[in-house]
Symmetry: C2
Subunit: 247 residues, 2 copies
């Protein structure tokens, strides 16, 4: 229980190994030249949409990851079980290197698409970003802000809506880049997107290091994550599980 | 902006399709017979460790997912950038069907392993759980609570520590089940674990539905997530990126 004991113990072997390979040990959080990454939260977001990318992007040298919402404070997920803390209000944030807009269930997505304060802020931030990004139905919110061109991806069950509403072609990839806008597919695709962003921001070797840092060597016990090969019954079940968990 | 407009719009096609396949539309959150899932937060946890499993497990029919900590309120991640809200204090929670203990950086893990209040609570809850589970270095905390037997997995850089400290064999799998204790490998492995738990709790078809619901069809842009094939240089880089992002 003593702090002396705490500081002596290390449960991660090889933490000091970096020096052996000539990697200088930085003081990343004191640096101010790393990317400023902002993640926009709004009521009813899906938990993994912001947190998967945040886990990956927070490992970028010197990066800061800030959760932002219309107002500071707790913001609840679509199931209402869990809340993430928004550290800054939109009014406090004027510039970001990376903006990420997560997705939500139907209620949260529609409310965000109809929130003019939120859409105006997204457009204002987008003017100066290096990358403007989304996960899941977050691309519909970028669409509502007028930021989609040509093609994009989104949650599989929102593909028709994306095409009909914004006149952009749905591409069933994990992430789709058009200029500085990068959209990701549903929920867990944010992790794949974030590793790609990491390579754009800090190079492929760093992105590979982060992938190992989060031990991202996925081996799902089932092979049922691809809507292109899923049966109509499984799609209906997936949407029912989502709907029932949300209200 | 009117609520009438909001309720009319749907951005997810096929939400009503469930009925066509004879799936009854439940009112899951009103049910009280779903699994009670508790996730233990403590200062310095790694963000994806609890949030990946929470995203998956919250879709289980009737499930409740509760973030629990020594005290209610915000609990900060290892990078200190992000905070999740603990909805219940440990003193308020006496029974869970599933306990999940996430991992952390060195500081957070060691502090948790030396926190007797926390270890006592884990042991007390474990007596009645259906499944007691961990992600990443969370297995070291289960070890400190005396709950590991025979074999387990953990974060790749903690494998030696696990074996030497608790006398259990490290197994380099995404998750390892011994009795009712299921340990997962690092960070992102919690998603694979959660899908496996979903199949144990609600059957394989529901687990497959959840996998599609979170579009978990991972396609990382690089193949660098497996420590067994990573170079010593990449391992050193991964640990340096982690260390620098934490202090």
């Amino acid at each position: 229980m003593t702090s002396a004991k705490t500081t002596r113990r290390t449960v991660l072997t090889g933490v000091a190994a970096a020096a052996a390979f000539g990697l200088t040990t930085g003081t990343a959080h004191a640096e101010t030249n790393g990317p400023r990454i902002g993640i926009l939260l709004y009521d009813g977001f899906s938990l993994l949409d912001p947190t998967g990318p945040a886990e990956v992007l927070s490992r970028l040298p010197g990066a800061t990851v800030t959760m932002i919402a219309e107002h500071r404070g707790p913001v609840r997920t679509d199931t209402r079980d869990v809340a993430l803390l928004a550290e800054r209000s939109m009014a406090e944030v004027h510039r970001l290197d990376v903006l990420l807009v997560p997705g939500a269930g139907n209620r949260g997505t529609v409310a965000a698409m109809e929130n003019r304060v939120l859409l105006d802020w997204i457009r204002r931030i987008h003017r100066h970003t290096t990358w403007t990004t989304s996960v899941c139905t977050g691309s519909l919110i970028l669409g509502a802000a007028g930021l989609l061109r040509d093609r994009a991806t989104t949650y599989w069950a929102s593909a028709d809506y994306l095409e009909k509403t914004f006149g952009v072609r749905y591409v069933p990839e994990r992430y789709v880049q058009v200029g500085k806008v990068v959209t990701a597919a549903g929920v867990s695709a944010g992790i794949d997107l974030a590793l790609y962003l990491a390579s754009l921001l800090a190079g492929e070797e760093t992105a590979r290091g982060i992938q190992l840092a989060v031990e991202y060597d996925p081996r799902p016990p089932f092979d049922s994550g691809d809507a292109a090969t899923a049966s109509p019954e499984l799609k209906a079940l997936a949407l029912k599980l989502l709907a029932d968990s949300q209200e």
